[in-house]
């Protein structure tokens, strides 16, 4: 009996001692052969599809240069699409493209010469070979900024203003937080959770909004959820690694730093999304760079600094580490602004925004133990009030930048 059970896994079956990997591969190989035969025989039994081709094109990027529009279009639909003619504001124009025929998921640049006037609206119609008209609107024509050094500098400055500086300023609450005691700290952590919950919701909605307007070919709204899931798992992996070192770290009094780092990473991902929105808005001329924008974001993001230092209130790390935390949370805004302005892509943006939301949810999961009271309850009157306050603060400061 015992001998039998031991030898069984090794393959006592008479069929002949195949290695396990081969048993795994055989069905795959058979599936491949069957599908190849099916395709090779021209899908026996099934006729051609009835009805005309399904033509879908998404304009992923619009660049305005003096005397021309440059559209990057992607074939969103199941069939090939040929862009036969292009009209701007009810007039045909001689456009150029390297290949007018776009296969599934293929992308192509259309150069459309047109003497556009700054500030005016344009409707660009792509007429396909079947006569379908795909309409793209340019709400207000503004020359797309060159991606030169000055432009990257400007985006960096913008990221600094709305990301790094406010977050770092928010961290100046550290001395105050140190003196408010254990109960006060619990409330503050609850406020942090409220702040983060708002940011997660905000990023998710933002992602859904962005992706709704772009190409659906890569999954559309699912990208936001995939991004969230992926980053949540990634954060969990990071936590697992950190947990292994935690005992040592706790001995050195750095347990709070671990949490603070996670919070900073989560907020950093969120600010990446914020930078994306700012950069892409700037690129299409929809963004007025002004004091109001910066002040609004500063107030909004200062509270994020508070969230980072709350976990390290008991044992604050050195100045260098604090600055590093501030950069982790704030600097992604710069990166986001660069990506958003120079290579905005709705699918990528949606994925990144989803990633921000997922990371934040992972962080909230880590923070929950810090708000437990003496009886081990996470939701007690003080923490509930704190969470509500956190949500309210971001909601209200958010109004400042969304009036």
């Amino acid at each position: 009996m015992e001998a039998r059970s031991e030898s069984h896994p090794a393959g006592e079956l008479p069929a002949g001692r195949m290695p396990v990997w081969a048993l795994g591969l055989i069905p795959l190989a058979l599936i491949a052969v069957a599908l190849a035969a099916f395709a090779g025989l021209g899908a026996p039994g099934l006729g051609e599809r009835r009805g005309p081709p399904v033509e879908e094109l998404a304009v992923e990027r619009t660049v305005l240069e003096p005397g021309r529009f440059v559209l990057t279009v992607r074939n969103d639909g199941p069939d090939a699409v040929e862009v036969a003619q292009v009209a701007v504001n009810d007039g045909y124009v001689p456009f150029t493209a390297t290949d007018r025929r776009l296969g599934r998921l293929a992308s192509e640049k259309l150069t459309v010469p047109y003497d556009w006037v700054e500030g005016e609206a344009y409707e660009i119609v792509l007429l396909t070979s079947t006569g379908a008209a795909i309409t793209h609107a340019v709400d207000a024509a503004v020359e797309t900024p060159d991606s030169d050094l000055g432009f990257f500098g400007l985006m960096a400055l913008l990221g600094l203003y709305v990301g790094v500086i406010p977050v770092t300023l928010g961290m100046l609450w550290l001395p105050f937080v140190r003196r408010i005691g254990a109960a006060g700290l619990r409330i503050l952590m609850a406020v942090t959770i409220g702040l983060l919950a708002f940011l997660a919701l905000d990023a998710t909605l933002e992602g859904l909004e962005v992706v709704a307007e772009g190409s659906q070919a890569f999954g559309g709204a699912a990208l936001v959820l995939l991004g969230a899931g992926a980053s949540f798992l990634a954060m969990a992996a990071v936590e697992a690694v950190m947990d292994a070192r935690r005992e040592r770290a706790r001995a050195a009094g750095a347990g709070g730093l671990h949490l603070a780092t996670l919070v900073a990473v989560g907020i950093g991902l969120h600010n990446l999304g914020e930078g994306l929105a700012i950069g892409s808005a700037y690129a299409v001329g929809a963004l007025a760079l002004g004091a109001f924008l910066v002040i609004g974001f500063a107030i909004h993001n200062t509270t994020e600094g508070l969230a980072i230092i709350a976990p390290v209130a008991a044992r604050p790390p050195g100045l260098a580490r604090l600055i590093a935390l501030g950069l982790v949370a704030g600097a992604p805004a710069i990166l986001g602004a660069w990506i958003g302005a120079a290579a905005f892509n709705a699918s990528l943006a949606a994925f990144l925004l989803g990633a921000g939301a997922g990371a934040i949810v992972a962080v909230i999961r880590q923070l929950v133990p810090t708000i437990r009271d003496g009886e081990g309850r996470a939701l007690h009157p003080a923490s509930i009030a704190g969470i509500a306050a956190g949500v309210a603060v971001l909601y209200v400061t958010g109004l400042l930048v969304s009036v």
């Binding site: 003096p66 340019v138 709400d139 929105a277 299409v284 002004g290 009036v403």
Partner: protein
């Protein structure tokens, strides 16, 4: 992409846009005024900047379509340049008593045609062409039009003229006598007197009416006056368009079907020679159409039913189904544009040139 999220946020930013000079200064604004930039630095690959025709588009070449492609007229089975001077006089014989009997055969069919370079359109056509053949006869003759419906849809031929109800090509009228709507595969012979003289037309009158016209079932029908008209270089122009995406408005406008055709292949006429244009507006979905010629005036004969011109002008307007005859001479050589003076139609294809030669 043009509608980024956070739109509201950004509008908020605009309120106090000017109040932070620091950021404003570093914005790369050196080419903020598109117009100046255009004047200063022509776009690369734009050798013709500054010359070329007024209507030639920013790159100043002939067609508003990409220059590397043209409609394949051979495959379409008709060429707008040939349609211009192609008058179908049918087959004739003398009846007892000396009267002329004139007969044509018109076959309706479903046909895919190229209505702009690269754009295919599933048309319905008489005798394989859009517009259908220009039927021409003389006042007082007896006309027989043998209609064969080779299409998969029911059609008719409804002539503008004076005729009995059975010959009206109208669904619901005359089915008992084999007329009315003519179903797929069936045939009918329309018979009536050629009256009155003038510039008329024919089209399908099946329901729903709009698509039966818009898809191409129409043509010019000319009844010459008994005494004839002065010798002239005669041209037929049918102002039409195509709704390629079924939104009940036209994507393409043209005269004789192919947009910008007479821009790429100007109509050659002789200096000082009388030019007579038989002009029909059959455009569906838009209320009016118009005709304007550059550098010249013409005598206009509405519906062609009078031998005295009603007007001496350079622009006329026609609603759908209206038509008339234009007579003019070009005193100067060179290229003269003609186009719809509804400029939207012109830029969507309804424009062309006369090339006047000595």
């Amino acid at each position: 992409m043009e509608k980024i999220s956070r739109r509201k946020l950004l509008r908020g930013g605009a309120v106090a846009a000017a109040s932070l000079p620091v950021l404003h200064e570093v914005v790369p604004h050196r080419r903020v005024h598109g117009q100046d930039a255009l004047a200063a630095e022509p776009a690369p690959g734009d050798p013709g900047a500054g010359h070329g025709t007024a209507h030639g588009g920013p790159e100043g070449h002939a067609s508003a379509f990409p220059r590397d492609r043209r409609v394949d007229h051979a495959r379409n089975g008709f060429d707008p340049t040939e349609i211009l001077r192609d008058f179908d006089y049918g087959r004739t014989r003398r009846l007892r008593g000396g009267r002329v009997l004139r007969e044509w055969t018109l076959i309706a069919d479903d046909k895919r045609i190229e209505v702009a370079p690269g754009v295919k359109f599933d048309a319905w056509a008489y005798n394989g062409r859009v517009p259908g053949p220009t039927l021409r006869c003389r006042e007082g003759e007896l006309l027989r039009i043998h209609f064969v419906n080779g299409s998969r849809h029911p059609h008719t031929i409804h002539f503008h003229g004076i005729h009995p109800a059975l010959m009206d090509g109208m669904p619901g009228v005359g089915e008992g006598a084999g007329g009315g709507v003519i179903r797929a595969g069936e045939r009918f012979t329309y018979e009536f007197d050629a009256a009155p003289f003038g510039m008329h037309h024919y089209h399908c009158h099946s329901a729903p009416l709009a698509p039966h016209i818009a898809k191409g079932l129409y043509g010019a029908f000319i009844v010459d006056p008994k005494q004839g008209r002065a010798e002239a270089d005669e041209l037929v122009m049918v102002m039409n368009g195509f709704d390629t995406n079924f939104d009940r408005s036209n994507e393409i406008y043209a005269v004789n079907s192919i947009p910008f055709h007479y821009q790429d292949d100007p109509i050659e006429v002789k200096r000082d020679e009388l030019v007579r244009i038989y002009l029909l507006n059959i455009l569906e979905f838009d209320q009016i159409n118009s005709f304007h010629v550059h550098g010249n005036f013409f005598h206009y004969f509405p519906t062609g039913t009078s031998l005295e011109p009603a007007e001496f002008t350079d622009t006329i307007v026609q609603a759908q189904g209206q038509r008339g005859i234009l007579e003019l001479r070009f005193p100067y050589p060179g290229k003269f544009m003609f186009h719809a003076h509804k400029t939207e139609f012109a830029e969507l294809g309804w424009l062309g040139f006369f090339e006047v030669r000595d």
